[in-house]
């Protein structure tokens, strides 16, 4: 029993390394600033310090990218059907990713803002937006997130994402936005 689990671990580790290694070549290296003039007589130099610096930069870049991806998951919007405040099936995965990130980063707090399209009563839409934000909060609470980390606000129809007046615009405007209000630096990837 011991050997197979060790083997699985090693396999997983190798896989992780492979994956980590794979992404590096896909990333186009930034265009180096063209040197004004090449040195006429190249001398043999020890470039290990330079290689180390480049490696550090590459790792920092990757870390920043991972943080950006986590942050993007954390702030991805969800949308709603007309006059509805029920989290749609398709958006549950979006909220599940947020829940995982929030569990991995206990210092993070977010503000959920509910929005409505311009149809319907101006005032009712504020209540509807509030219900939409509250629905996302309840979903995350059911996934184990402490409610005090999730602030609920509503803008009703006051802040449309798309100023259009067709169904495409309306569908985009019926949404919850998620904004990190604390602990957004050095995000840890979820397990």
């Amino acid at each position: 029993m011991r050997a197979p689990s060790l083997l699985m671990l090693l396999t997983a580790a190798a896989f992780a390394v492979a994956c980590g290694g794979r992404s590096a070549p896909e990333e186009p290296a930034p265009e180096p600033t063209p040197a004004p003039a090449p040195p006429p007589a190249p001398e043999p130099v020890d470039d290990s310090a330079e290689r180390e610096r480049l490696e550090r930069e590459r790792m920092a870049r990757e870390a920043a990218e991972r943080a950006r991806a986590i942050s993007a998951d954390l702030t991805a919007m969800i949308n709603f059907d007309y006059d509805q405040a029920v989290v749609r099936q398709a958006d549950q995965a979006t909220l599940d990713r947020k829940a995982a990130i929030l569990l991995a980063n206990p210092g993070v707090r977010i503000r959920i803002s509910g929005h409505a399209d311009e149809r319907g009563s101006d005032e009712y839409n504020l209540a509807l937006g509030n219900r939409r934000a509250a629905a996302a909060k309840r979903y995350l609470e059911n996934k184990g997130i402490e409610g005090s980390r999730l602030e609920v606000v509503s803008y009703g129809e006051e802040r449309p994402l798309n100023p259009g007046t067709d169904e495409t615009a309306f569908a985009q405007n019926r949404r919850d936005e998620f904004e990190v209000t604390a602990g957004g630096d050095n995000l840890t990837a979820p397990q």
Binding site: E123, R138, V152
Partner: protein
Amino acid sequence: MTRTTLLTLAIALLGSSVMAQDTSQVRDGVRIGVDYTPGMRPGLVVVPGTGIDSVRAMVRRDLDFTDRFEMITVADLPSGSTADRGSTEPGTSGVNYQLYKSLGAQFAVELVEGSGGVTARLHDLSEGKLQSQKAVTLPSSASAEFRLEVHRLADEVARWASGVPGAAASRLLFVSGGRVYRVDSDGHDLIPLTPAGQTALSPAWSPDGQRLAYTQLGQGRGGIVVQTLSGGASFVVPGSQTALNITPTFSPDGRTLAFAHSDERGTDIYTANVIERCCAQRLTVGRFADNLSPTFSPDGRRIAFISTRAGPPQLYVMAANGTDQELLAPFDYGATGSTNAPDWSPDGASVVFHREVSNSPQIFLVDVVARRVRQLTSSGRNEDPTWAPDGRHVAFISDRSGRRQIWIVDVETGRVRQLGTPGAARLPSWSRRLGRTTPVLNP
């Protein structure tokens, strides 16, 4: 002999129709009395004269806007016939009764310039006599009070002739570009009341016309601000300091403010004492359903409001303490559109609201006793109705002219007019009749 009898009869009939208006009253929310039937409006002429043209034009328009008279235009009178139209002597008049009678007028309104003011006289042409008159002192036409004072005189003339005062001496609040504006009922004197760069919503008048309440939205939250119209001093209503608070409305005695408080538990209706600035109290328990847009009956004993307890928002009513909640405007589940923005009429008889019909809001009335629903508009998007103080007109927002503007409908005849504003307008609120009161400095 026969002619005299007929005249007496005519006077008696006329007298009874005027008397019928005077019997209009509210008794436990039920209106007793009769309304004019469209087509039976008495003819009224504002007699041409010299000087005070602006006053005459205002009074004429105000009387027209009451929708209680057939306005008779006399611009085309033969030149000689106006020579003897007026006299400054009270009780004696040079108004040519026969001429105006022949034009179909039952009433002639005479406006005569006096020292520092104007005298209004109402002549009953059927009876052939001066019926009522009143002299008022007018402030300088540059004064902010000038127009309101002329409107008050016009409202009084309307009362003499119809038994019901006009609603000209009143103002509306509305929102444009995130600011609350105030405008006279005839579209004059547009003034911003809240600062630029903020988002104010849902302005509401206090019954005495001295204060307004509104939602100040910021960062998806907002308190209910009560502000004096003169001076602008303000405070945030107790119970509305946290989360989002919307749709404020004053009780008829001006002591209580009802509003909706939105937080993660949903949206529910609260009241607070705005005189003592205390005692926030919850009236509804939504349990994830929304309850909002409260509006008091004129006796202060009941509150109509919107609730999503049955799914889409619909109109309900409850006692002012939150008990006895029941449906007010009947609806067919799955068929009737969303219902919002109720406003209880000043006479207590009906509640006006908007309801979605074929994806477009339209203005409706529900009779509070009979629970019958009547549609008032059908052209364009029409929403957020508010009663005029005469209980006969309703202002609302319509896009029928292309962009959102304030329109006014006479609920008796269906006649509409536009109250033009420079920008797009939303969320109007019509004041009660504005009396001459000393401005208060603190809200």
